[in-house]
């Protein structure tokens, strides 16, 4: 912004007017030099006479000029100076005010004062940020998550609403990132040692049966889908021969139908029974409207990679499923 240069034709005059400009004592970083706020009191400070230049230049003692100066310094002056300060718009001010010499030099005292203010602001910002973020510990706050052992035998996904509480309870360790995370599955029915078994994440029903001592000779293994992925907190029932094979026999609903018992039956959308996203295999998912083999496989892959779904909404994470399709599927699936 250095626009006043010696090359400008009238620079001698500029230089002449520049030279006597007083530097007021006690420079203040906020306000410049003028130490007096009252425009009506020109006082000893030459730099304070700008507002009443009409009085100062032409007829210093004249009443008319005095009245004019008072008027300018009154309401209109207040309006103009407030507008100028807030917006930089030099309303009604003398043009020459804005073309004075540039002043860059900072005294150590002014610099220290400004730094102190900046430091105070910075400290306040840091304090606020830290206090707001104080509840964000690196170790996350788990909400009402029972320990896996406690929930293992008790969880029965009978509440199909997929509410937060249920979803959190079913998968406390399921989304763990380490590959060695274990899940807890309750295997009952035609196995040698029915009960709780620990399995690796992503284990299949066959692994669960093996872990439970293997199927008994009376087990009807073709009634269940041994290849299906078992989820943490799930109960799996292996039917005996002659037992009503209603759940699994229909269309490969796998352990899902077996586990819920009453909720068995076809996973076809037509049946009205929601499909469990965590236990249904690709074929069952394929049967859903709007989901083809590719999407069904992606859902299974997502489950394998990220652990079980904890809410129906997480279906949105699967590439190819958007909010619209999710809206259509919402009533047909559960977790």
């Amino acid at each position: 912004m250095v626009v006043e240069r010696p090359a400008v034709p009238w620079s001698p005059v500029l230089a002449a007017t520049r030279a006597p400009t007083p530097r007021a004592p006690g420079p203040d970083p906020w306000t410049g030099d003028a130490p007096s706020e009252r425009p009506l009191d020109p006082g000893a400070e030459e730099s304070d006479t700008g507002e009443s230049d009409a009085a100062g230049s032409d007829a210093a003692g004249a009443d008319a000029a005095d009245v004019a100066a008072r008027f300018r310094a009154g309401a209109m002056g207040a309006v103009a100076s407030a507008y100028t300060t807030a917006h930089g718009h030099p309303v009604g001010t003398d043009l020459d005010e804005t073309v004075g010499p540039r002043r860059w030099a900072v005294t150590a005292r002014a610099a220290g004062l400004v730094l102190a203010v900046v430091l105070a602001v910075g400290a306040a910002v840091v304090t606020v940020a830290v206090s707001r973020g104080a509840g964000a510990p690196t170790a996350r706050v788990a909400v009402d998550v029972p320990t896996p052992r406690a929930s293992g035998g008790a969880v029965r996904p009978s509440a199909t609403t997929g509410s937060t509480g249920a979803s959190v309870a079913t998968a406390p360790s399921g989304t763990g990132t380490s590959a060695g995370a274990t899940i807890l599955v309750h295997v009952v029915g035609a196995v040698r040692h029915p009960g709780l078994v620990h399995l690796d994440t992503g284990a299949r029903l066959e692994d669960a049966v093996e872990a439970a001592g293997g199927a008994t000779s009376s087990a009807q293994l073709d009634a269940v889908n041994l290849a299906s992925v078992v989820a943490d907190g799930q109960q799996v029932r292996i039917p005996r021969k002659g037992e009503t094979a209603v759940p699994a026999a229909s269309s490969g609903t796998s352990a899902d139908g077996a586990a819920t018992g009453d909720g068995g039956g076809s996973s076809k959308a037509a049946s009205g029974t929601p499909v469990d996203l965590n236990t249904a295999d690709a074929a069952a998912l394929d049967a859903l409207p709007g989901i083809g083999p590719v999407l069904a496989q992606r859902i299974v892959d997502h489950r394998t990679q990220n652990g079980p779904f904890t809410s129906v909404d997480q279906l949105d994470e699967v590439s190819g499923i958007g909010p619209a399709l999710l809206g259509r599927l919402r009533d047909l699936v559960r977790v």
Partner: protein
Amino acid sequence: MSAGGRAPVDLRLAPAALATWLVCWWAVAAGTHAVVLAALVVPVVGAVAVVGLACVPPLLPARRGRRAPRVRPDARTSAVLAAPVALAVGAATVALAACAVQLVVRDRADLGDLAASGRVVTVEASVRDDPVPLRSAWGEDVVLASLDVTTVDDGARAWQAAAPVLVRGDPSWSVVAVGARVVVTGRLRPADPGEREVAQLVPLRAPEVQAPPHGPVAGADALRSALMDVTDDLSPQARALVPGVAVGDVTRLPDDLDTAMRTVGLTHVTAVSGGHFAIVVATLSGLCALLGLGRWARLAVLAPATAGFVLLVRPDPSVVRSAGMCAVALAGTALGRSARAVPALGASVLVLLVADPWLARAFGFVLSVAATAGIVLLAGPLARRLSAWLPRHLALVLAVPVAAQAACGPVLVLLSPAVSLWSVPANLVADPALAPATVLGVLATLLAPVWPAAAHVLAWAAGCATWWVARVATVAAGLPGASVPWTGGLLGAGLLAVATVAAGAALWNWRVLADAAGVRVPWAPGARPSLAGWSWVARGTLRACLQRPDRPAAPPEHVPPARASAPRSSSSRP
């Protein structure tokens, strides 16, 4: 708050403000580790530099002597440079440190990692800003809403957080109120680097509002909605523009008027900007002065009114900038000192950037500061130069939009790659309506809840003022040259800046250019041209156009010979 005649233009805070801005610009888009490292390295390097400057004898005494003529060149010249450098380094360091802390707090929210893998989360948040409706590239209606997240639940875990996210929702989001607490489920997407928000959230459902806004924000909302009710049955432009100038609500702005105002650079009218703020504060100051209030009484009126107005119109970047300058002015009043626009601008930029480094990349803030700096620093010299041709008041009135446009033009090109030839004339013609529209609109807003009938009358009167603005915008946007294509991006901005500087240089050295072109200019700068002089110019120009352009014409007798009369005779004082 007078400004002294021939007082120095106080640029002492400018280097520190610029340094802080550069640092913040870089830091908000850089990684957290880099910022933390910089916050440790910069003060060390800076301290070495400052100590070096303070100890090493001055290398360029002549140059510094010219810049700071009143400091004795023999003593403490190095300190002259050391103190500004120390100030700039110190301010930059504080800004870096504050930014680093905020980045660390945001990182601990873990939203960035979840966004990178596109997870679905449920967040509890408070609405930070008014939802902005816009149309996406493929014609889909989208609403952008900024939320301050307080808890995150990814299905398996839940944790507390403090980080902003940007919701990209459907039109059901346009009704959420600022300050309301909402629960949202949606899929996270990465945000653009440098954005204030750590992630974008594409909601799966309409927002669940847990708690409506409360406290002062609710009061401001009540005022805003009352104004919307009062202005509902006005003419189309008034029902859109009166809420726009009064409280910055542009939801009713018709698309064609919006486009017209954008085209001719009148957008600062439709949204509440620093100018509105200044009008309100200036009006209040005038009232205080009329009532003869003392310093502290004035402070007691102005400080709450300023804060309330910020709440009412929402703390947008330009409003924050203006409020910052106002706060400096008020602090000056409290200390019994005058406040000037240049140091006030520097101080508010410095403090605001330390408080909120993301402002450094906010277009509203950049534009607001550029326009203010342009007006503060350029309008005066420009008006003085223009007063060689024009009456002083006209010169000042013309200089302000020219200065603002010169400073804002390159930034505006970044937003839309076009230049309007009618921007300055349109602003010049439309601006007189802005002050009455704002004052009447704000009065209508304040009256709307308690006395709707009177508010309606005031809003109608404000609508008359906005009619003028709308008319100017529509007419100017229809003129040829309203939108001249220009290269976009940084290249276009750079080109326009160069063109602006070149035009300014031409204006400054017009006499040299005129001499070179063989045109004799009849009057000296500062000597007001008379009507006769103008007619002589007109005749001369006509003659030159009709005959040979380079043939010099003889100056008439009544015009003072160039440079012989006292320069600036009309403005110089004893």
